[in-house]
Symmetry: C2
Subunit: 99 residues, 2 copies
DNA sequence: TAGATATATAGATGATTGTCGATGTAATTT
DNA sequence: AAATTACATCGACAATCATCTATATATCTA
């Protein structure tokens, strides 16, 4: 189980967020992901590595191609955290112990 | 409405994530937040600024103290995004247009 | 086996970040 | 008014990051 902050950090980049949206419901090879961006191939590779490190994607080689897909467990975990945040984000009490 | 990546980036730090957890259901002044950490006061101030920039917290001065509270709208927005990700994170199709 | 294709890794660079001590500012207290 | 308290801002510094070009690796194809 990855650190919560690591997961959110991985989500905190526009390119990576777009990659994730591309992968919703699909499995894509790097070349297809690459063709959706204007950044270089190594940059995409770098972002995919970051997403994999955070546990957000899985990769699977098939011949010349490597297919990337989302890792549902990691998204379920992040979703659970944010769901609690959203539910409890309304402040009721006010605390102050300092003087 | 803040950029999605900005919100996740703000969530992607252990100290900021802890601050958020402290603020769940509560409104706290900086001194109380500070006393829960071992980092310096300017560091906490810096993180609160980052959270505020992302729209995740609101602040309200009251005499000497400034109270910070969570901003439910931002959390609802982030939650909605992750909910969709979690729901659609199971890959069904496989695409490849490159050769 | 020699090229071609798909992807990763290495190394460099400029930008951003997390942290700190020092200082500034606003409000309160004495 | 002077000191104190709560918090923010400034400036510095090391670490991390996003990006690139160049190169390496793995697989397929001719």
């Amino acid at each position: 189980m990855k650190e919560q902050a690591e997961i959110f950090k991985a989500l905190g980049d526009p390119v990576r967020l777009e990659i994730i949206k591309l992968l919703l419901g699909k499995e894509l090879c790097v070349c297809d992901i690459l063709s959706a961006f204007k950044v270089s191939q190594p940059t995409i590779s770098h972002h995919l590595k970051a997403l994999k490190y955070a546990g957000l994607v899985n990769d699977q080689r098939e011949g010349k191609w490597i297919y990337y897909s989302l890792a549902p467990e990691a998204f379920a975990q992040a979703n659970a955290v944010l769901q609690e945040f959203a539910a409890k984000s309304v402040a009721k009490e006010r605390g102050r112990t300092c003087e």
